[in-house]
């Protein structure tokens, strides 16, 4: 067994990942962290994310650095018919193919599921796309923000009476990646028990729709869209961010009567709890315009840390509203070791976000830095049975 794959529940599995969609790269990284040998197949010009965006580390975009650790890189120009034989030869040594090319492209390249299963009958073929492999939008170009818009997630996010806005993170890419990783493992489990491979279709749209749960039930039942309220909630009050004396913010959510009465106690505003306008949650929702300014004024009188200590001690759900710098220094985040230091010849010392699942028996690994373009092409081809002469021929024809 490859020594790089000793750790993690997926050790021994080989994955070929080819995805201009960011969701595919993140999905590949989740699997690679769990020990799978993930080969990133890039065109000779490189994965497009290597050069997207402003910030660069050792020549690569930080977007690329962030989503590609623990992988090996192989270049192969799939646009040329003569290279398809090489692709299929590689594929025959692979358990799982993760592609985010879109149905139009995989067909055009001659590497759709039907073509690939002829080479490897029990292949698990995971397609990640914006809308799905079939259906009215299947061939439409898509990415994270367009699917945030399409799925209704955007409609739930924004200022009061303002337009819908994006979630600050690429929530569609993450949703597709997480659901994709689940689907990949489930299909491999099925293959392990039955010997059968299959085509698995994961779309950002489906993943984002599932992420609406349980909002869709409320909206379908009432026929009413939920209003956007900034940090606040349409049907619980108080449930919002408040600014403290030092300009820092905290977020608290009172969704039970006990939380409200505890909050009034620690804010030393007993009159609010007795005020009939604010007695029950429906009262507070109705009279939120009167209540919120009173709370805002009170929060201005102490620092965020002072309030936080009191409110947390009263067992009311509450936390600092951290920017990313504060988040990464937050004592719980530090305790959870969510920041991983790695090193590479190209980048020097650099930091990435840790794997989100803690396997106590087979922990995630952080062994390989994101690969240089084509760094492992020769190594991968020779282990797939390509001889030195063949590799040279591919190199001469600019295939790799």
């Amino acid at each position: 067994m490859n020594s790089n794959s000793e750790k993690g529940p997926l050790r021994g599995y080989r994955v070929l990942e080819c995805s201009p969609l960011m969701a595919g790269a993140i999905c590949g990284m989740l699997l690679a962290d769990m020990g799978a040998d993930v080969i990133k197949l890039e065109p000779p010009s490189g994965d497009p994310w290597r050069t997207m965006g402003e910030a660069r580390l050792g020549g690569d975009s930080t977007f690329f650095v962030s989503a590609n650790r623990n992988k090996r890189s192989l270049t192969l120009d799939l646009a040329h018919d003569e290279n398809r034989a090489a692709f299929f030869r590689l594929l025959s040594s692979v358990d799982l193919f993760v592609e985010g090319l879109g149905p139009k492209t995989t067909r055009a390249l001659g590497i759709d599921y039907d073509a690939c299963r002829r080479v490897r009958e029990d292949l698990v073929y995971l397609s990640l796309s914006g809308y799905g492999q079939t259906g009215p939008c299947a061939e439409r170009p898509a990415d994270d923000p367009t699917i945030q818009a399409y799925s209704g997630v955007m409609a739930l996010t924004g200022e009061y009476q303002g337009p819908p806005i994006l979630t600050g993170n690429p929530s569609g890419d993450f949703a597709g990646a997480a659901v994709g990783a689940y689907a990949a493992c489930a299909a491999l489990f099925h293959r392990e028990r039955s010997g059968q491979g299959q085509h698995v279709d994961v779309s950002l749209l489906n993943a984002m729709l599932y992420s609406l749960i349980p909002r869709e039930g409320e909206i379908l039942t009432t026929g009413q869209e939920l209003e956007r309220y900034g940090t606040a909630h349409p049907s619980f009050v108080p449930y919002a961010a408040f600014e403290a004396k030092d300009g820092k913010r905290l977020f608290l959510s009172c969704f039970t009567p006990k939380f409200w009465s505890n909050l009034c106690r620690v804010l030393e505003l007993p009159e609010l709890e007795k005020d009939p306008r604010f007695a029950t949650n429906p009262d507070r929702v109705k009279n939120r315009r009167e209540l919120i300014p009173l709370l805002e004024e009170r929060f201005k009188q102490k620092t965020m840390a002072e309030w936080l200590e009191k409110i947390q001690a009263a067992d009311v759900p509450c936390g600092p509203l951290n920017d990313l710098a504060m988040a990464m220094q937050d004592p719980q985040v530090v305790h959870n070791r969510m920041l991983v230091e790695m090193e590479s010849p190209a980048y020097g010392a650099f930091r990435t976000m840790a794997h989100p699942i803690r396997f106590l028996g087979t922990p995630a690994r952080y062994e390989l830095p994101p690969p240089a373009l084509g760094q492992h092409t020769r190594q991968i081809l020779s282990s797939a049975g390509f001889g030195p002469a063949e590799i040279e021929r591919l190199e001469r024809s600019d295939a790799i």
Binding site: L10, L57, S66, T146, A149, A175, L205, L209, R228, Q332
Partner: protein
């Protein structure tokens, strides 16, 4: 070849998790054929049965949304008899899931070590808001509190405005999806080695991971990601634009091919030759001017007109749907993402479908969300309890 069975046929999950994150994850596995036994507190059950404002025939939609494909067993784990029932079931289980506050399962005696004694290869998942240990581990929390602590809320909002809450329960969903991932990966490992293990997930860790790859620039430069409404800082044009009748369209131009496509689709060849907009860096530098031109253009015609113009060009775009529009959209329907089930009390209910299309082993929707304790008899009889024993347990309010 033998008849194809569902992926998780024969796998049993004892699910003590409540609210959204755990149940969303185990629902996925129930759809794949796992026997998910939802263990709930007698009397009250899962909190989500009593939360929220929308009900169908007295049942909260929040509970209905996330609990199909499960059987319910009301079981009081605070009593010795309840624990005894639990440990009769434990050896038949492959997976156990819980999201009590950290430390509770040890007090109840249903922690990993106790289960491992009766079922050495059990896979045990503990879900929490912040982690099993650490300074916040015992604090109460819900989804948006984690959005706030994890930095997500600070990255979301209008340019020049304050932070905004992500409107869907993103940390809950993300944790649910990763619970399903973790269970499947651990089952694979067990299948190949015979070893079980314990897994821990938290909403906080999930939320932080869900920032990838937006955290990379901050890690390198210390520069905080700005709030930019519906736009993306590194790319232009990106954002929603209003059309003639007040509906919005989203445009996402990250590189040159879609830029050329957009100029053609909107019949604005002069944009494509404008030196200010010659590459993404130029368009980002002149973001406001460009957005102004696009806004003025799109305002002139209704959404349907622009859809027709844009379709067929290599430009990622999409209508900004309301949730209702998204749910009734033809692609959503085509993907099977809205399903109807018959519920014995609520009648016909509409639920969100399974997000993955497994071509050979599709998700199946056999069981509607259960009534509290609805499957106690079946579960206990399978475990060897006699009708009389079951009656006694019921009288003593153990089940």
């Amino acid at each position: 070849m033998n008849e194809t069975k569902q992926i998780l046929a024969g796998i049993r999950i004892l699910d003590m998790s409540i609210m959204t994150a755990g149940p969303c994850g185990t629902q996925l596995l129930g759809d794949l054929g796992a026997d998910v036994i939802k263990i709930e507190q007698p009397g009250s059950g899962d909190y989500s049965r009593g939360l929220g404002f929308t009900k169908i025939a007295g049942i909260n939609t929040q509970f209905l949304s996330q609990n199909r494909s499960k059987r319910s067993l009301a079981l009081n784990l605070n009593t010795p008899e309840g624990r005894e029932v639990f440990f009769r079931l434990a050896p038949t289980a492959d997976v156990a899931v819980e999201n009590f506050r950290p430390g509770t399962v040890a007090k109840l005696g249903v922690d990993y070590d106790s289960l491992k004694r009766v079922k050495p290869d059990i896979i045990y998942i503990s879900i929490s808001a912040f982690g099993q240990t650490g300074p916040y581990s015992l604090l109460p929390a819900n989804d948006p509190v984690v959005q706030a602590i994890g930095g997500l809320m600070s990255m979301t909002g209008e340019e020049g405005g304050g932070p905004v809450r992500v409107g869907n329960p993103a940390p809950d969903f993300g944790t649910g999806a990763l619970v399903a991932t973790g269970i499947m990966a651990a089952l694979l490992h067990r299948q190949r080695t015979g070893e079980g293990q314990k897994l821990e997930l938290s909403l906080l860790d999930t939320t932080l991971f869900s920032l990838v790859p937006m955290e990379g620039e901050f890690f390198m430069t210390g520069k905080l990601p700005p709030r930019m409404g519906s736009a993306r800082k590194d790319f232009a044009p990106t954002g929603s634009f209003e059309t003639a009748e007040g509906k919005w369209i989203y445009l996402s131009v990250l590189s040159e091919e879609p830029w050329a496509g957009l100029c053609t689709a909107l019949e604005r060849p002069e944009w494509h030759t404008d030196p200010r907009y010659r590459d993404n860096a130029g368009r980002v530098a002149h973001r406001a001017a460009l957005a102004g031109e696009i806004r003025a253009c799109l305002r002139q015609k209704p959404l349907a007109y622009w859809i027709e113009r844009l379709d067929g060009h290599e430009v990622p775009w999409g209508p900004v749907h309301t949730v209702t529009e998204a749910l009734h959209d033809p692609q959503t329907r085509h993907n099977g993402m809205l399903i109807d089930m018959q519920h014995p009390v609520a009648g016909k209910i509409t639920l969100m479908g399974h997000p993955v299309k497994f071509e050979r082993t599709p998700a199946q929707y056999r069981l509607p969300p259960p009534g509290l304790g609805e499957h106690a008899e079946g579960v206990l009889r399978d475990a060897g309890y006699t009708d009389e024993q079951i009656r006694t347990l019921r009288e003593r309010k153990v089940i």
